[in-house]
Assembly symmetry: C2
Homo-oligomer: 175 residues x 2
Amino acid sequence: MTRPFREESLLHTPKFDVIRKTYPDDPDGLSRYVIRHHGAVGILPILEDGRIVMIRNDRAAVDAWLLEIPAGTMVPGEAPEQTATRELEEETGYRAERMVKLVEFFPSPGISDERMTLYLAANPVPGKPRPEADERIEVVLLSQDEAFAALASGAVRDAKTMIALLWLETGRVPR
Amino acid sequence: MTRPFREESLLHTPKFDVIRKTYPDDPDGLSRYVIRHHGAVGILPILEDGRIVMIRNDRAAVDAWLLEIPAGTMVPGEAPEQTATRELEEETGYRAERMVKLVEFFPSPGISDERMTLYLAANPVPGKPRPEADERIEVVLLSQDEAFAALASGAVRDAKTMIALLWLETGRVPR
């Protein structure tokens, strides 16, 4: 809402908080329960030969391995480009000299203020992954045709990954 | 995670709950804090003349009016096609005879089990909107070229709306 509000914190967790917002000018006195998030980044890493560096990620929230692009949550105080560089290396081992911003969006604005920025990592060089203690991740390289086929078949079920691949397919990613 | 777990409910709200998952086989004894959601639908309503029925939605979570496709949260026991038909009519007044499933995805699988199904509503007929008490919504009709330009300019910042429009732009929506 673009109106004055009061807020109250209900729950704190490592990746998000839950707050209750109330609007003094609201005749019904309704509350909105909202997830407050530090923000996140997704990275579309494209190798010199055109292949995309993707991951299979064992996701606690959905009890499934998902085919995704590398991504991660911003640490408070971190610039999104830093998060992107750090997460790409932690999750895949690949290092990119430069992150090129593609697009920014809200994954779930009905309940959460999470803002995600997508980056292109052009021609990253391989190295050794350093996953966090609570991550189970496998690196997988797909040609662009394989990635677009995975979209069409329903094998890609993660929103940020769909947006990144569709952004590429519609010619919106600079090379 | 695709492993056995215990869960504990931490918070209940009208649209989502927060639970803590722990994994008995995890040597570090780590917890994951996860949002449990009833599921949601998004609707891509395309008029006979090709224009798309979109909305401007005053979003409490992000303190902004967002340009979106119609959407809504499933009421427990409701089939997703019913949710889609109901929400399209409540938010825009338009009524569709049939919902055609396009694709299903997780908007934010790093923290939430929310699953969203996108539908095509072909040739819906106009009527009177009936927004819920806590919704502030304006209906806006865009040509497909205008919608794709809004994507390119950054005017569309909602993930489900980006996926729906990109799905259309890449020829994946049947007509």
